[in-house]
């Protein structure tokens, strides 16, 4: 996606800069951006590495297995028809997403999609697959570490102040969208059987 957006943004900036007489500012912006990048990387480095270390410790404790057990009823409710193997990948994807291990969540999620597709003979996505994609478009991360890191690096008085609004927003959106989704996709599947 960035392969198109990135060059187009730059090309438009040059063209619009020339026509609006702001090409000098555009030229300046190029050199400022390099400094911005370096200062952003340096200020992010410490706190990002710290969280990455903490999450690694968390991954190695039994907390992970406990969360998986707690998720079991949820997974049975939405993905009960899927194979045991698919369920394993689904729960791993959800746990990684909750803990903010994005690097782990995506490959595991793709694996879960493939497993669910194996038992799906229809030409379109099955109920489980649709619900799984929908789930992944919703934010379920418990601690938004990256954004807290960025806020801290910019000198916020209280970088963690956003946790509460993030939780409230995520929970409301999650419940509402998953509820609508479960009604919407279930209905479609029934129609096909008729």
């Amino acid at each position: 996606m960035l392969n198109k957006i990135w060059p187009i943004m730059i090309i438009i900036s040059v063209i619009f800069g020339i026509f609006s007489g702001r090409i000098a500012e555009v030229n300046n912006a190029i050199f400022v951006s390099f400094e911005d990048t370096i200062s952003m990387v340096i200020s992010l480095l410490g706190i990002m590495c710290f969280w990455s270390g903490m999450i690694k410790v968390l991954e190695n404790t039994k907390i992970l297995k406990k969360i998986e057990k707690m998720l079991r009823p949820f997974i049975e409710k939405f993905f009960g028809e899927e194979s045991e193997e698919a369920k394993k990948f689904i729960s791993l994807n959800i746990v990684s997403d909750m803990l903010g291990i994005g690097n782990a969540a995506t490959p595991v999620g793709i694996e879960a999609m493939k497993k669910m597709d194996e038992s799906n003979s229809k030409k379109h996505l099955s109920y489980g697959m649709s619900m799984f994609i929908l789930l992944n478009t919703l934010s379920i991360q418990i601690i938004p570490t990256t954004i807290i890191s960025v806020r801290a690096s910019l000198g916020s008085v209280n970088p963690g102040v956003i946790i509460l609004p993030v939780w409230i927003t995520s929970i409301i959106v999650f419940l509402l969208i998953m509820f609508i989704g479960s009604k919407l996709f279930k209905k479609e599947n029934k129609d096909e059987y008729i």
């Binding site: 590495c49 270390g53 690694k56 404790t61 994609i133 478009t137």
Partner: protein, 172 residues
């Protein structure tokens, strides 16, 4: 409220490390391993950051962004969303790293603890890169994606942005 918020992260660290100690795991070794992985993540992020900061800075300097937020900002303001957030609202569903760059830029410009800074942070924390996610997960299988799914996901994304704005306004 403030004590509660200040407690969340120290408490999290406390719990993780206590669990680790109770289970007799090598806390320091595991932590170091994770830090190394984090280092790799930041290094992998570097090209994206460099490329996107270049594009965002140039885009802002050419003046088009003011032009665009004047057009679309009016629509967003109907939903109480500040028009300064226009670029974030449009890029957020597509690319996580570009929305991070734009949110950082907003926090620098308007202040990290300002209302706009808070809303931008909350949006980033409470929404996902919806369109990107759908593209990735449907890319591996050759099946038709129901339009309902795409529409519902985008509604969810916008609802997240809307609620972030409302809740930050209430809390501020």
């Amino acid at each position: 409220m403030s004590i509660f918020e200040s407690l969340i992260i120290p408490f999290l660290i406390f719990s993780i490390l206590s669990m680790c100690l109770l289970e007799r795991k090598k806390a320091f070794d595991i932590f170091s391993e994770g830090v190394n992985e984090g280092l790799k993540t930041v290094i992998n992020l570097f090209p994206t950051l460099l490329a996107l900061l270049l594009a965002v800075n140039m885009f802002r300097a050419c003046g088009l962004i003011n032009f665009l937020s004047d057009i679309f900002g009016g629509v967003l303001e109907l939903f109480f969303i500040p028009k300064e957030l226009t670029s974030l609202v449009f890029l957020e569903p597509i690319s996580g790293s570009s929305s991070l760059v734009i949110a950082t830029d907003l926090m620098k410009t308007y202040g990290v603890d300002s209302l706009i800074g808070l809303i931008a942070s909350t949006i980033l924390g409470a929404t996902e890169t919806t369109i990107y996610t759908i593209a990735i997960y449907t890319g591996v299988i050759k099946k038709k994606v129901p339009k309902k799914l795409i529409v519902l996901a985008i509604i969810g994304n916008f609802l997240g942005i809307f609620l972030s704005t409302i809740i930050c306004n209430i809390m501020n």
